[in-house]
């Protein structure tokens, strides 16, 4: 849940690189260059990610500039993943193992046969697996150069930072206690090392 509905959970970032002057056009171009693409069921692709509209996770149409809400740019990261439940994989493999033994007349499977069978079973199950979509809202305040990513999941945040850099060639600095303290110290012109700052509430 994020920008439009429900309780909000988010992590804040600052854009750490110089941004182009024509930021809206730049972002439009990159959203169009890195849109979300559905996984082709005939392939063995496990994961697909890309940008979608924050208003409609099925839409990758940005040309109408609906994502621009001065001073914000709002869009979403969609990640589709195909997963095979471990027990389903095991059951399918054991079934194929029985068939293989019957057909080959072998009592035991050689490691090579076993690996090949496992791979075949995994690929066939993956093609049948429906992708599970997850959508994370993103809101970019172009005035403060702050970005909100609407998830607190560590893996989702890691994926977001990496994909954001791939898309926009812009590094994100997390607004976590240390970095915020650095900004404050710089703003206040204090010549103190944060490394040595310790706050003790009790003796010892």
């Amino acid at each position: 849940m994020g920008i439009y509905t429900g309780a909000a959970s988010y992590q804040r970032y600052r854009t750490g690189d110089k941004l182009p002057d024509n930021i809206k056009e730049f972002v439009l171009e990159k959203l169009k260059e890195f849109p979300f693409k559905e996984i082709n069921p005939a392939t063995i692709t496990e994961k697909s990610m890309g940008w979608v509209s924050a208003e409609n996770m099925a839409s990758t149409f940005f040309d109408d500039m609906h994502f621009s809400k001065e001073p914000y740019l709002a869009f979403a990261l969609r990640v589709d993943t195909r997963r095979i439940p471990a027990l389903a994989a095991k059951a399918a493999f054991l079934g194929e193992e029985i068939k293989f033994k019957e057909n080959s007349g072998k009592e035991k499977l050689a490691k090579q046969d076993r690996d090949m069978l496992k791979e075949e079973v995994w690929q066939s199950l993956l093609k049948k697996a429906l992708p599970t979509p997850v959508v994370y809202d993103v809101c970019w305040n172009t005035k403060t150069e702050e970005i909100f990513f609407f998830s607190n999941s560590k893996s989702a945040n890691d994926e977001f930072i990496t994909f954001f850099y791939r898309s926009f060639d812009v590094k994100l600095v997390p607004l976590v206690p240390y970095d915020l303290a650095e900004e404050i110290v710089t703003k206040q012109n204090k010549s103190v090392s944060l490394k040595n700052l310790r706050v003790d509430f009790v003796d010892g």
Binding site: Q11, Y72, P177, V199, G204
Partner: protein
Amino acid sequence: MSMDKDDLRKECSFGKDFITYICYMSDKNAGVIMIPGSDDQFLLWLDGRIVLADDREPPPNTVSYSGDDFTVDDLRQAIRSGKKVREARLRIEQGANVWSFNFKAERFEVSSLKIDMPQTNDMDERFFDRMLSIEALNGLLDQLYEYFIGEVYEKKWQVEGYPEFQTWLNKSI
């Protein structure tokens, strides 16, 4: 060997120090927070959930409270035993605005922030209402954090802040 930025972020205890400090401020001032040099005044309360931890030696020694049974004496007792606040559910009130949310010390993550749903079906209106509410909350938290960092940097903390904190901490002993 010099530490890189990620190490400094991991080692940094400012998040825990800050939430511990605002819990103290809230109790000391009966919930009223006034930041010197700012016109902002607001109410800040613990909202039914807190997790405190002593991370000095592994494994961390953790205690958590939820519901109405938790008292300020429990908070003082935990701090006296070396614990700091790792996570808390906070409630901030300023004028007609009310924010209730979980705040985690490690990365200043805000989660489960309840925002009144704007009474409109217009997507843009809804977007701006909610974003402005989120930005206003962040503004208050940033101001408070800036005040905190300034306070603990100044020699005043050792001379005045720390002794005052100790008076509050040992109140019920």
